[in-house]
Point group: C2
Chain length 240, copies 2
């Protein structure tokens, strides 16, 4: 049974404020829900159009009711509420991906999925970045958020306190195909979708890298952020 | 002045049916509008919150009115109606990107932008793919749609009639880092977001390629489609 309180809670969990207040977030879709359970996330409540969900206790609801509470246009048959988990300690012996003021939830979700694919365990985000428990991030990460550790921190202070190599993408950096970027540790930073890396962070960077354009023109001005992360991770890992 | 007919037309142009009926589509944002003009697209009407737009005749409207007609949540100050242009002849001497039943408009827009970056001039799509003049595609292509030729065709019949090398991405193909994929011509095909390449198309393929996973697990099941295209184009171009 779907109670009024459930409906209210699930609707509220669309906003970061209420996710923090309640310490909970929403996951939709069978595969993703299983990923979060397998990764040890604590399940608060599970709603299913179909009663059977891997021997878990699920509350049955109609598809009509699911449509009312779902954050998706075309909801899958299952919706779960999980507890938000504290970030784990960052493993600084391995390569880290850093994101400054990432804005677009679809980009962050895709980057989390790509990091998972390439074995990157840690993503750090500046505090003004989009929340990784935003339902669009959860959705586009396709379950990978359950396996990749995302930490929000004061990026400038964090970077200043660390001695590892700090690379960052710029439009005028050294070509990733020419410079030696087969890093097994350190951090690679990516800036905001519209404005790139801030001048504040630029000052702390050791190495500027770029993905060269192959078309003899000055357009497009840039690549999509998630595409850039994919290309750079592929280039690093192919050389590893 | 924004007339009732303008409002009706712009709202209608959200659907493919009306884009085809009218032979028009919408572009929003100063940069993208300039890109389409520079690429020779025929401007039908231009609406601006600010009267000055590169010496073009624009119809002034209030931001309130723009919000009413915009396809975006946070509209830029300018909205244009352009005529749809027929696809150009496909240049089969150069590398082509092929997409089977691509569904997500954000993915198609990002792929168009990535192709533009890497100098790919032609994308072909199966007829059941999302329409490239869909406003989310136009938006996420960031103007690149004006420079990349997107052709919709019967993919199976087209591929069967051509003798160039046909590669396609599969989860069990040969690693792109090991196989020789420094192609300057031929086609690379990518399948639908959820189901990959169909068995019908698989039969016509010469070469199966894959982006290897680097994490010793079987998750995530796949990469985002636009990320896969980015990685493969980077790998081809770096070797060119």
């Amino acid at each position: 049974m779907l109670t009024k309180n459930d409906i209210k809670l699930i609707k509220n969990l669309r906003t970061k404020k209420h996710r923090i207040l309640n310490g909970m977030f929403i996951v939709e879709g069978r595969k993703s829900i299983i990923d979060f359970i397998d990764s040890g996330y604590s399940l608060v409540k599970l709603f299913s159009v179909n009663e059977h969900f891997n021997n878990l206790n699920s509350l049955k609801l109609s598809y009509f009711d699911l449509k009312k509470i779902s954050h998706l246009k075309n909801p899958d048959d299952h919706l779960a509420i999980f507890k938000i988990r504290n970030s784990k300690k960052i493993n600084e012996k391995k390569l880290i991906i850093g994101l400054e003021k990432i804005n677009d939830p679809g980009n962050l979700g895709t980057i989390i999925r790509t990091c998972d694919w390439f074995g990157i365990k840690d993503i750090i985000c500046s505090q003004n970045s989009v929340d990784c428990y935003n339902s669009k991030v959860v959705q586009s990460s396709m379950g990978s958020l359950s396996r990749v550790n995302v930490t929000y921190l004061d990026l400038k202070e964090y970077l200043k306190s660390k001695s590892f190599i700090k690379s960052a993408t710029f439009l005028d950096g050294k070509s990733i195909y020419e410079s030696e970027i087969s890093l097994s540790s350190g951090i690679i930073l990516f800036g905001n979708e519209a404005n790139g890396i801030s001048s504040e962070i630029e000052k702390i960077i050791d190495k500027k890298i770029t993905i060269p354009r192959f078309n003899n023109s000055k357009y497009p001005e840039s690549l999509n952020l998630a595409s850039s992360v994919s290309i750079i991770l592929s280039e690093i890992l192919r050389n590893s």
